[in-house]
Symmetry: C2
Subunit: 190 residues, 2 copies
DNA sequence: ACCATAGGAGAACGATGGTTCTCGATATGC
DNA sequence: GCATATCGAGAACCATCGTTCTCCTATGGT
């Protein structure tokens, strides 16, 4: 028997791979079981319903996604360069072979109208991303509205990359961010 | 008995209202029947499978959406104002009570991984939208890459408005477009 | 060694949904 | 007026899926 922690990790790994790749409604609990190797009984002990598993999947992905982004961007020497590095990170992400767009936009489109929980998690994810960008913008000494523009460009790049299948939108968005940043005439001292 | 044309229109009206509002997989053929008032037999004569109906729904919506947008934006006195008016039109759309984001992004997230037809229609819709913007950009005498930036901002505004429930992203995107346009130093003569 | 408990495999159950079929009514052509 | 084709209403059929149950095995404490 697997330890509870390992079983939970395997279930979430399977859920993430399958839900993200094919959509939530097209993946049955039986496939989560066969992919994770965790029996249905244990699966339902960990998550009393498929909806609970979906929420756990989205929450874990939210944290991991934002942590990976921050690890990459925060390594830059200045907030301005971190802001631009966000789009390099997006480019790398778009280039991953299993990239299928934003898990939160996808699940919102699939279930947002009928599942308030999924809708709330998607909103929270986007808010957190936007806050992260806003912190970088503030640290760079740029006006707050710049964060809105950067967020829209990132959002647009993600969905365009998903549908077109090309990572190119990341570069275009980065160019647009540079123009926005130049328009403010550089950082304003605090 | 309804005329074939009227039956088809009622079916597509029902399909559009239901599919867009709740997602494709959560709407059954029986609900299309009761909403449209067209019997199952006739429904399956018009569309041999649910997939065919989904494709017809998406194609009709693509054309209507782009026609409505063009009618609004093309009424402006100059290409530059048409370009900016796109975002006024988006704002009005976001404010409609039944706005639920982009039908093509939603259906792509729901079925794009398993339905090549749905994926192709979503791609074609985004390409056509991008071409429309590119024509306006060219007519305005702006460099071609401006169209990429404008498209990313529009895309980002649509998904952000859908998830946040606010029409505000349309105004932010419009402001960003103005900055992009100013950065080129105005139209370049042909 | 024995028993109680937990675990796994898979059947079973109930609901839903896509698609087809039955059947009675209605309209159409001669 | 009648035969024939068509249509609508809804049952029926079959597959899928979320969830629970059965039954058998193995294990761990005493």
């Amino acid at each position: 028997m697997l330890s509870p922690e390992l079983a939970e990790a395997r279930v979430l790994d399977a859920a993430e791979a399958l839900f993200y790749d094919r959509g939530i409604q097209l993946v049955g609990m039986d496939e989560i079981r066969s992919t994770s190797g965790v029996s249905l009984k244990r699966l339902y002990q960990l998550y009393p319903s498929k909806g609970d598993l979906v929420e756990a999947y989205l929450r874990r992905r939210d944290e991991a996604w934002r942590r990976r982004l921050a690890e990459y961007a925060d390594a830059r020497p200045s907030p301005r360069e971190s802001l631009l590095a966000v789009f390099d990170w997006l480019h790398d992400w778009f280039d991953e072979p299993d990239f299928r767009g934003c898990a939160f936009i996808n699940s919102f489109g699939e279930l947002g109208a009928t599942s308030p929980e999924v809708a709330a998690i998607a909103r929270a994810h986007k808010d957190a991303f936007r806050r992260y960008l806003a912190d970088l913008v503030a640290a760079a000494g740029e006006p707050a509205w710049v964060a809105d523009h950067v967020a829209l460009l990132a959002e647009g790049a993600i969905t365009t990359a998903a549908i077109s299948g090309s990572p190119q939108p990341a570069r275009q968005a980065k160019d647009a961010v540079r123009i926005i940043l130049e328009s403010t005439g550089g950082p304003r001292p605090a």
